[in-house]
Structure formats: structure tokens, C-alpha cells
């Protein structure tokens, strides 16, 4: 029975119902679910753990579905980054002239994380990365009916403390200005973000 389940999860859903969000993957916390245009999973049970394609506009059409174990393990080289590869220790940022490390707190999370804002080029990249970092925490809190997009959606609002000590909503200012003025980040529960004066989630254009 279980092997059947495994197989079913690997198939594309042609029926139009969006099973994407409910599909279980073997990604470790820190790995986002990768979707190509067809809504099919890339190697969700086999093959490489993929992160989101950070190279904008370089959609990888050639990576096959992971329905064949053989193929998945030897899929052609994709341009996407793979978790933990190359094996250089993550926080040892070598040779970087500038590093803008800021602490990231998530309301209710028992630990802080750090991100280096210099490695991102846009709000989208930053938020995707935050999503990865805190995905495991979030999902533990909810029944896994639907993966909740905790950054852009219902539950959490990304906020930051700027140079003047004010708490602002992430996305208001141009990216570079944000990088320079941001001192720390906080993913605030939406219910508490009332004071920031925004009721709807801000829109982030990918060109920002």
C-alpha cells in the first residue's frame, strides 16, 4: 500500500486539482518545493534537493520528473542550486568585501537565525529564503492540510527595524535602500502588525 502511495505522488496531476500544496516531499527544512511550469514536482522522491532557481528567467525545462528513479538520479545538469553543494561551510563567507548580517526573529520561534542581505538581489529572493528557513517551524504548528505561505499570506508579516529604530513593513522602499537601512528582521504575527498601518500584504514585484 505504501509503495503505491509513493508512486502516486510522483505522477503529475492532470485532473486540474491542485494537489501541489498537499504533496509531501522529502525536502529537508530549508528546501523549498520546486515547481516547474506544469505544476509537476521535480524529483520529489528521488534525485536532488532543489532550491528555488535564483537566476531569474532561467527556467529549467530540461529536468525530468522523478518518476523513474534511474532518470532522476542522473538528470541532466540543471542550473538550480542544490542544498549543501558545493560543500563549503555556509556561514564561512569567504572573500566577501561586505557582509550585511541581520538577525531574523519569527514570533513564536525558539531560535533566531541570521541572514546576509548582501547575497540577495531582491525582496523576492529574501522572502523565499526566509520561507525556507522557517518552513519546518511553521508546519509543525499547523495540521499539514495545506502548506501555509507564512510570509506573503495569512499568518506572518515581514517587518524590519531600520537605522532610526523604527519598525517598518518589508517592501516599502527600494531594495538597495532597504539593505542599507535594515538592522534586523522580524516575522510578525499578522494580528500584531496592526500598528504598522497596513491591512493587506504588500506586493513584491520580482524586478524590485
Amino acid at each position: 500500500m505504501s509503495s503505491e502511495n509513493g508512486k502516486r505522488l510522483l505522477e503529475t496531476d492532470a485532473g486540474g486539482l491542485n494537489f501541489e500544496a498537499t504533496e509531501l516531499t522529502l525536502g529537508l527544512p530549508g528546501e523549498p518545493r520546486v515547481t516547474s511550469d506544469g505544476g509537476a514536482k521535480l524529483g520529489s522522491k528521488r534525485g536532488f534537493s532543489e532550491t528555488v532557481d535564483l537566476k531569474l528567467g532561467d527556467n529549467n525545462q530540461e529536468v525530468k520528473l522523478g518518476h523513474s528513479l534511474q532518470e532522476a538520479a542522473k538528470s541532466p545538469v540543471s542550473k538550480t542550486q542544490v542544498v549543501g553543494w558545493p560543500p563549503v561551510r555556509g556561514f564561512a563567507r569567504r572573500g566577501k568585501k561586505s557582509c550585511k548580517y541581520v538577525k531574523v526573529a519569527v514570533d513564536g520561534a525558539p531560535y533566531l537565525r541570521k541572514v546576509d542581505l548582501e547575497i540577495y538581489n531582491s525582496y523576492q529572493q529574501l522572502l523565499t529564503s526566509l520561507e525556507d528557513m522557517f518552513s519546518c517551524f511553521t508546519i509543525r504548528n499547523y495540521l499539514n492540510e495545506k502548506k501555509i505561505d507564512q510570509v506573503n499570506g495569512i499568518e506572518y508579516m515581514p517587518t524590519y527595524e531600520d537605522k532610526d529604530g523604527d519598525w517598518m513593513l518589508v517592501g516599502d522602499v527600494p531594495w538597495q535602500m532597504f539593505v542599507e537601512s535594515c538592522k534586523r528582521l522580524r516575522l510578525m504575527k499578522s494580528s500584531e502588525a496592526v500598528g504598522l498601518g497596513l491591512k493587506t500584504a504588500p506586493k513584491y514585484s520580482s524586478t524590485n
Binding site: 505504501s2 509503495s3 502511495n5 509513493g6 509531501l24 516531499t25 522529502l26 525536502g27 529537508l28 527544512p29 530549508g30 528546501e31 522522491k45 528521488r46 534525485g47 536532488f48 534537493s49 528513479l69 534511474q70 538520479a73 542522473k74 545538469v77 542550473k79 542550486q81 542544490v82 542544498v83 549543501g84 553543494w85 558545493p86 560543500p87 563549503v88 561551510r89 555556509g90 556561514f91 564561512a92 569567504r94 572573500g95 566577501k96 568585501k97 548580517y101 538577525k103 531560535y111 533566531l112 541570521k114 518552513s135 519546518c136 508546519i139 509543525r140 499539514n144 502548506k147
Partner: protein, 615 residues
């Protein structure tokens, strides 16, 4: 590396004054299995005399491999060896429990523990997997209060643990934390304030959280015994004035490695206080932002020239290359140079490296390009260890270094023993050349960053290159492979890699045969870490004869199933078989994302998090 114990040891049956804390990786942890003994002596008196003699003799045995062997001779030797073992090395903290360790070895002075597997460094394991120092520190606090030295690698240490360490062991002298986490500046503050006899505090590549406490200020006043203070991994500013005063009152200080919040001007002030340093980590090696344009620059050259004993130089965390000439005076004495944080060009490197005739260890960024490596090869004839790290650690970035620099090194540095080389392109020819030019190689780690990348000249897999390495480098004990590799490469490894103890495999091999070759062919294999390779249950089974001889096996994103792992677990009761899944996966799935298994005397651990299933 050997360190002298202090002479003020008052215990009657004290260990000798040389405590040889070697970092050579001898095999095995604690002896498993029962000791078959037979009484050799009839009367108690000769027995006692012989035991005393034995005890005195065994004191001099320092190698843990020898000690393990000695302990197997008979019960008497087992007992005496246990009494005289002063340095305890445990390669996997879950292989044996703290209770068992303290029950057997009651007079331990130094504890060396390793926790998480290495692939955890690359985000292949969720956080909070385990490897907690806490049960160890509590057990040792009760049973071995004369513990003086703790060396931890990849373990989780809390602030409370640091407090316990400082409070429970009155003569505590040395703490070395490598790739550890879980503690912060608050814990450090307590630790340094209470350890009055502290000689060594080395924080190496560890993650230290910022509790916003001034831990440097917490070192007690008065003359300090500090010999080594390493904190280059601490990513927060420190109180420089307090540090300056600390250095001034530490006449024995030999090793000082600063973090990137120390400017070059501040470095100067410290060097002037401590010209006796042998190991220096320079901090940022750039001026602070506050320094004015017209300010008089200190005479850095003289400061360096005054450090006549300096042999090991590192740091350069935010280097301004204009300041590099300051180190010219000491280049000729250097045996170890770490430029792996310095984004410098070949032109900037050349004037330095051309004077480093005695250099044995060199870590550098690939920003120096093949040309820089050629300069290294031209001068550094004594080079034993080379590590070339990528500035841009992505698969498809430009590769400033290639087989050209690699081959140049092999031709110039014939005494090479250890190499770690990140690149984007490589050829079999260059690897074969190195296998012939550098027969003393013990560690060979080549990372071709593009997955499945073949020889870029011939288009062939990299099988022959790695094959040549295992064939020609007869002393090889550690190997990491990469690039496009077929089963043939593993056939070579199994056939010729008879001394290989550590093997790292990623994105390689065609079939189960590859893993079989290795498991059946490499009798010394201790640590095997594999990721994203097409090896399944059948291959796993082929290693049953060997798993008790290994420290661990790691396989992630391969083709293992629960059934297969279950089989192993049933067949081998002394093996702990952990299946690690991603934190958001609730169901027990057919396929195993990560298998981590290791021998253990204790059975399944009781601190496993939810995402770990022990079969």
C-alpha cells in the same frame, strides 16, 4: 601538537608531565566486546608489584590505538590501562554513554568528543538532531572532577554546560570548540570569569550567539595564564580596550586569533603588547571606518618584524591589500599561512609567497587563479597541505583555477600530503600527474563544483584520474571524489584503496556495484559519507561484514528503502540505524531520505528528535 601539563599537580599517582594531545586520527573509539582474561599470578604480592610496574609503564603509552590493544591483553592490563588513560577520545558521542566512559576511565584529564556527522555542516541535516554535550559534562562533573581539557567537534553546547564546566572542574585549563553551536556570549562570560586557571579558549568555526554580554571583560583581573585565545568565528564586536588589557597581562600568550571586528590599527596595538606570539589571526586587516584620512598610520612593518616567533598567520577577514606589505618581514619564518578569507589576486600574492620558503600549510581563495598557484609551486617546496577555496561557491560560476594550477602544484610541491581543491574544470591527466608527482599524499579531496562534470578536455569520466590516485598514492587514507564518475572509479577504489579510512562521495556512480566495490574492497574504511548517488538496499547489504568496524555510514538522497534499512537493523543489533526525514514529513514513506548509522554499545539514543526514526 603536544602541550605541557602544569607541574603543580599534587596527586600522588599523577600522570607524567607530558600530556601528548595529538590530533592524529587513529582508528577506533572504545574497545567493544568482552575482555578474555586469565589470572597469571597466584600470590597477591607479585601481582601487586607487577601491577605497579605496569601502571608506570603504561603511563608512557600515549597512542590510543596502542592503548586499546594493550587493554585486550588480559583483565589486569585492561584495568591498569583504564586507570592510566589520561586522554579519552570518543569519535562518535553516541557510540558509548557518558556513564560507561566514566565508569571505565576514572582518571581522565582530557576529553575529546565528536558529535554530528560532517554532512550536517552543509545543511543536509535538520538542526537539533542531537550531539548534546550536556550529559557528558554532568557525568564527568560527578566522576572525574580533575578533568582539565575538553575538545569538542560538531556538538551542541549550551550556556549552562559552559557554566557547569567552569564550576565543576577546579583546575580546568583548556576548552576547544570546533564547529559547535548552542551557546552564546553569555555562556562565555560565565565560563571565563570562573575558570581561573584557563590556558586555552579556542572557538573555531563555531556559531556563537550574541547575548550582548561583554565576555572579554569577564576575564578575571590580575595575571592570566592564557596561552591561546581564538575567537575569529565570533560574529560580533568585542570590547577592544578590555582585550588590550587582557593581552597585556597574559605573558604566556602564544596564540591569538582575532575576529573581523578588530581593525588593523587595533591589531597593531595588540602586537606591540605581544611580540612573543607564534600564531596570529589578524582580524579584519583593514582600518576601522572611524580612522581619519590624515591620521598617522602606525608602523605595521616594524610591529610584524618584532614578532620573531610568528610561524602561523591567518585572518585577513576584510583585507585591504594595500596593507599586505606589512607582513613581508615574517614571511620567511612562516610555516602556516591562511589566506582563505582574503580575496586577493595573483599579483598581490606573489611578493608574499615568493618569500615563504618554509611554508608547509597554505589555505587560499581561488581568486589567485592558476597563475597564483604557479607562484606557490615555484617557491613552496616544503608544502605539505594546500586548500583552495572558491570565492564564488556555485556550480556554474567562472572557474579561476583549473587543472593548470593543479598540475603546477603537483610539479612544484613534491612533498604534498594533503590537498583540498575546489574548481570548475579538471582533467584526468592533471590528476594522474599529481598521483605520480606526490606519492606522499594522505588526503586527496577534489571538488569539481559542477555535478557530473567530465574531463573538460577529453569528455571522459574522471574515473582514471581518481583511479591513479588510489593506485599510486600508497599512503592515502582520506579521499573525496567528484565530477562524472562511473562504477569503474569505485572498482579502482575497492581494489587499490586499501588504507582508505574516510571516503566522501557525491553525485557519482551508476549502480549498486560501485558501493559494493568499496564496502568489499576497503578493509580500513571507517567513515563513509554518500549523497545523491544511485545506491540501493542491495548495495547496503553488501557491507554487513564490515559495519561493526566502521564509525559511521551516511547516505542521503540515494535509493534506500525502509525495508532495506530495517533488514540491516535486524541483522546487526549493535548498530544504531537512524532514518532522518525532513521535518515536515509526517508519514513513514517507502523511501529513505537520509540514513545515518553507527556502531554503539548503548542501543537507540533517548534524545532523538521527532524527525529521526531509529529502526
Amino acid at each position: 601538537m603536544s602541550e605541557q601539563m602544569s607541574d603543580d599537580d599534587e596527586r600522588q599517582q599523577s600522570p607524567p608531565s607530558d600530556l601528548d594531545f595529538t590530533s592524529n586520527k587513529a582508528r577506533t573509539c572504545i574497545v567493544t566486546g568482552s575482555v578474555s582474561g586469565h589470572t597469571e599470578f597466584q600470590s597477591p604480592y607479585p601481582d601487586q608489584v607487577l601491577e605497579n610496574v605496569l601502571e608506570n609503564v603504561l603511563h608512557f603509552l600515549t597512542s590510543r590505538r596502542d592503548r586499546n590493544t594493550a587493554s585486550l591483553v588480559c583483565k589486569s592490563w585492561y584495568r591498569v590501562e583504564a586507570l592510566t588513560r589520561s586522554e579519552l577520545f570518543i569519535g562518535n558521542c553516541y557510540a558509548v554513554s557518558p556513564a560507561r566512559a566514566t565508569a571505565r576511565f576514572t582518571r581522565v584529564r582530557a576529553l575529546h568528543l565528536k558529535g554530528r556527522p560532517r554532512f550536517a555542516d552543509f545543511n543536509l541535516m535538520p538542526p537539533d538532531w542531537g550531539a548534546h554535550f550536556n550529559p557528558w559534562v554532568l557525568a564527568f562533573a560527578k566522576a572525574c572532577p580533575w578533568l582539565e581539557k575538553v575538545y569538542l567537534k560538531r556538538m551542541s553546547v549550551t550556556d549552562d554546560d559552559l557554566a557547569t564546566l567552569a564550576e565543576s572542574f577546579l583546575g580546568f585549563k583548556e576548552l576547544v570548540l570546533v564547529c559547535c553551536d548552542g551557546f552564546g556570549t553569555g555562556g562565555l562570560s560565565i565560563f571565563v570569569s570562573k575558570c581561573r586557571k584557563l590556558k586555552v579558549l579556542d572557538l573555531i568555526e563555531s556559531e556563537v550567539s550574541d547575548d550582548e554580554t561583554d565576555w572579554i571583560l569577564c576575564f578575571p583581573e590580575g595575571e592570566s595564564h592564557l596561552e591561546s585565545l581564538i575567537f575569529d568565528c565570533v560574529e560580533y564586536p568585542i570590547n577592544f580596550e578590555a582585550l588590550e588589557r587582557l593581552v597585556a597581562r597574559s605573558p604566556s600568550l602564544k596564540k591569538l586569533k582575532l575576529n573581523r571586528y578588530v581593525s588593523i590599527g587595533q591589531l597593531y596595538r595588540l602586537m606591540v603588547q605581544a611580540p612573543q606570539l607564534t600564531h596570529l589571526g589578524t582580524g579584519s586587516f583593514s582600518p576601522s571606518e572611524i580612522a581619519g584620512q590624515g591620521d598617522q598610520e602606525p608602523d605595521y612593518v616594524t610591529a610584524f618584524a618584532a614578532c620573531k616567533s610568528l610561524v602561523c598567520l591567518s585572518g585577513f577577514r576584510e583585507i585591504i591589500p594595500d596593507y599586505l606589505p606589512a607582513i613581508y618581514p615574517i614571511c620567511a619564518n612562516l610555516t602556516s599561512l591562511n589566506f582563505s578569507y582574503a580575496n586577493i589576486t595573483a599579483e598581490q600574492l606573489k611578493p608574499i609567497i615568493s618569500n615563504c620558503h618554509k611554508l608547509q600549510v597554505f589555505w587560499v581563495l581561488d581568486s589567485i587563479c592558476d597563475e597564483g598557484l604557479q607562484a606557490v609551486a615555484a617557491t613552496c617546496k616544503e608544502l605539505r597541505e594546500l586548500r583552495v577555496f572558491p570565492v564564488d561557491a556555485r556550480e556554474d560560476s567562472d572557474g579561476p583555477v583549473s587543472e593548470v594550477g593543479f598540475q603546477a602544484i603537483s610539479e612544484g610541491c613534491r612533498k604534498l600530503q594533503s590537498i583540498l581543491y575546489f574548481c570548475q574544470r579538471m582533467t584526468n591527466a592533471a590528476v594522474i600527474a599529481m598521483s605520480r608527482n606526490c606519492p606522499d599524499l594522505v588526503v586527496f579531496r577534489l571538488c569539481i563544483m559542477g555535478r557530473h562534470r567530465p574531463d573538460h578536455v577529453t569528455g571522459e569520466p574522471m574515473d582514471d584520474g581518481f583511479g591513479a590516485i588510489v593506485m599510486n598514492c600508497k599512503k592515502l587514507t582520506r579521499l573525496a571524489v567528484s565530477g562524472l564518475l562511473t562504477d569503474k572509479a569505485f572498482d579502482y577504489i575497492g581494489r587499490y584503496g586499501k588504507l582508505v579510512r574516510t571516503l566522501s562521495v557525491a553525485f557519482a556512480g551508476d549502480s549498486d556495484m560501485a558501493l559494493k566495490y568499496v564496502l568489499e574492497g576497503c578493509p580500513q574504511l571507517q567513515k563513509l559519507e554518500i549523497r545523491d548517488s544511485p545506491f540501493g538496499d542491495a548495495a547496503l547489504c553488501s557491507g554487513l561484514h564490515h559495519y561493526y568496524n566502521m564509525r559511521f555510514l551516511w547516505m542521503s538522497s540515494c535509493r534506500l528503502t525502509y525495508q532495506g534499512c530495517q533488514q540491516i537493523a535486524r541483522a546487526m543489533p549493535r548498530l544504531v540505524v537512524e532514518v532522518i526525514r525532513s521535518a515536515d514529513e509526517e508519514e513513514m514513506d517507502v523511501c529513505v531520505q537520509t540514513l545515518y548509522m553507527y556502531r554503539s554499545l548503548e542501543g537507540p539514543r533517548n534524545d532523538a528528535p521527532k524527525f529521526v526514526t531509529i529502526l
